[in-house]
């Protein structure tokens, strides 16, 4: 395919690819570059400094928002991955027709409905059930009162499930059903079969599903913005409020950290995959 006479070669394709790549990376590099800029006002280089990182670290609100983001992301990852794994196993079994269709729809729909609609829907739903007399005094209300992150966690779990589901489903489809039948044939109870055969074999799918759910949760802005009660601010929501107040190099520093974290995550999963392949 590499030969220049190969029919798969098209002129202009390489140029577009490199230009697109530059387009994708220049803004990211700009943010990282200016996070080290000594000048606080304009986008002109005034010398190297790490002051903005120190300032970001000392910002207590920022630290709390980061902590909230981590709690929500870890929680949503756990719950959504468990739900997705169970659902993927369920979808493999024999199901009444309507149930299979409904479940399929529930997996697809969150990806097809614009986030803003899910955001306002969830927000108004919570505002209704939290104010209704029907819910007064229930354990759920107490939970929400005590832990303001509860609503955010629930909302994140819901929109993370489809993301966790798709790699799990893809993995389960590569496993022949006879493996699970063999486990049952060899005296494994359903639970033993899950522990010893299903789960280990599903692990690559579960891991990438969990990673996708984690990133999706960390990334979310609009749903959290609408749903989060005061005191349940996550990192993106806090950064947004900073941006609204004015562009500061501190934002660049926080953004640069987040960018580097996602770069490291992707690169490490890439390296792991490479190593597995060899």
């Amino acid at each position: 395919m590499a030969a220049s006479t190969s029919p798969s070669r098209l002129p202009g394709v390489a140029t577009t690819a490199y230009l697109s790549l530059a387009f994708l990376y220049i803004p990211i590099l700009v943010v990282i570059f200016f996070s080290f800029n000594a000048n606080s006002l304009i986008t002109v280089w005034h010398g190297f400094t790490t002051d903005w990182y120190v300032k970001a670290y000392e910002n207590e609100d920022l630290r709390r928002a980061t902590w909230n983001s981590m709690i929500v992301a870890v929680g949503a990852t756990f719950f959504s991955t468990v739900l997705a794994l169970m659902a993927a196993m369920g979808m493999r079994g024999r199901l009444p027709r309507g149930l299979a269709g409904t479940s399929q729809m529930m997996m697809t729909l969150p990806l097809l409905i614009p986030e803003i609609v899910i955001a306002i829907a969830t927000m108004s739903f919570f505002s209704i059930i939290l104010r209704s007399e029907f819910m007064a005094g229930t354990a759920f209300l107490k939970l929400v009162d005590q832990y303001p992150l509860t609503q955010v966690l629930i909302a994140h779990t819901v929109f993370c499930v489809p993301f966790a589901y798709s790699p799990i489903r893809a993995r389960i489809e590569t496993l022949p059903p006879s493996l699970f039948e063999a486990a049952a044939d060899l005296y494994a109870t359903p639970w033993q079969s899950f522990r010893r055969v299903t789960l280990p074999l599903m692990m690559p799918g579960v891991t990438s599903g969990a990673m996708l759910a984690f990133i999706t949760s960390l990334d979310d802005f609009i749903i959290t913005q609408m749903v989060a009660p005061p005191g349940a601010m996550t990192l993106p929501v806090y950064i947004y409020s900073m941006v609204r107040k004015g562009i500061t190099p501190e934002i660049n520093a926080v953004s640069a950290i987040l960018l580097v974290i996602s770069i490291l995550l992707v690169v490490s999963s890439y390296v792991i995959n490479q190593r597995k392949a060899s």
Binding site: E181, A182, L186, R196
Partner: protein, 335 residues
């Protein structure tokens, strides 16, 4: 003889299995009854979709019969889940656990039953020796050849001392030479272990050469049960005759017989002569096949038949010939 067990028989009584499908329920197994003797090598033979695999899966506990009972040592096992049945299966594609070593694969069943570790270690070792894979215990299944994987699958099932061993098209993934070797190997294992084998296949050669008895299945029903010789020589139905080996069917009148049904005969049972015989025809093709030679003959009524002769005959295409068939080799089917 380390694995020698008390052999058990199996009685299948009026078992049916219906699957739902978009076009309405499908009856995969229709009211089948048969008895399998202890220590027997029993084969379920039939084309794909005849219900043989469904019947096997119901014995294994992977499918539950819609009705009927399956008696193992006089106990009805039909309602038991697979993991509570003293029956093990060698799956069509082996279904070895890809994330476990050969040893762990073989030990799996005993571990699940909570057997003590020393007992498991000993049994696994013996099982590896039984299938001649003593040095492959630490390999992963993907590092083994197809034939070796097949042996691991056998060892993994046999190590549990099942009362019955089920083999689901177990040789079909192997190439011809390996398949012949495994046929002999399977017979040896069955003799040495004394376990009742139930073997599912669509390959009539395999069935004829290995089985004590064969049940030929057609569309969810048993068409005939018998020893390989009974089935080959006296097929009960035209379907059985056609499915087992090659069989020519012609109108009785074409052979000069006074009957209004079709008459069958095997290519190797008939011969021809240029003199007087049972029916007249012309040679249309001569296919030299090495060990035998096939003669395609068009009878006067327009029917085409095949004869096989060990030695090439001194005839040419378009020669007029007559058939010679010993009367006891004629097959008169009821259906």
């Amino acid at each position: 003889m380390i694995l020698k067990t008390m052999s058990s028989g199996l009685v299948i009584q009026t078992v049916s299995k219906t699957f739902p499908s978009p076009t309405g329920p499908v009856r995969a197994v229709d009211n089948v009854s048969l008895t399998i003797q202890p220590n027997e090598f029993f084969t379920l033979l039939g084309p794909s979709g005849c219900g043989k695999t469904t019947l096997l899966r119901m014995i294994a506990g992977l499918d539950i019969p819609t009705s009927g009972s399956i008696l193992l040592d006089n106990q009805d096992i039909a309602p038991l889940p697979a993991y509570q049945r003293p029956v093990n299966t060698v799956f069509q594609s082996y279904a070895l656990f890809p994330h476990m070593t050969v040893t762990d694969n073989i030990a799996f069943g005993m571990k699940m039953q909570g057997k003590p570790k020393t007992e498991i270690d000993k049994a696994v070792k013996e099982a590896l020796a039984l299938v001649r894979l003593d040095d492959k215990g630490e390999r992963m299944p993907a590092q083994l050849s197809g034939g070796q994987q097949q042996r691991v699958a056998l060892a993994r099932a046999l190590v549990n001392h099942p009362k019955i061993l089920l083999l689901d098209e177990s040789l079909s993934a192997l190439d011809y030479k390996l398949r012949k070797e495994m046929q002999i190997e399977l017979k040896r294992l069955q003799r040495e272990t004394g376990i009742t084998f139930i073997f599912v296949t669509h390959d009539q050669d395999e069935a004829l050469s290995m089985s004590d008895r064969i049940a030929v299945m057609e569309k969810g029903n048993v068409a005939q049960i018998g020893t390989p010789q009974e089935i080959y020589d006296r097929p009960a139905t035209r379907f059985v005759a056609d499915f087992i080996g090659i069989c020519n069917f012609v109108k009785a009148s074409s052979l000069g017989l006074n009957d209004n049904c079709d008459i069958g005969f095997r290519p190797e049972d008939a011969s021809f002569t240029v003199g007087r015989g049972m029916g007249k025809g012309n040679i249309r093709h001569i296919n030299y096949r090495g060990a035998v030679t096939h003669y395609i003959i068009e009878l006067e009524g327009g029917e085409t038949i095949t004869l096989s002769e060990d030695d090439p005959q001194n005839v040419e295409v378009n020669d007029a010939v007559s058939l010679v068939i010993p009367p006891e080799r004629l097959i008169r089917c009821t259906a």
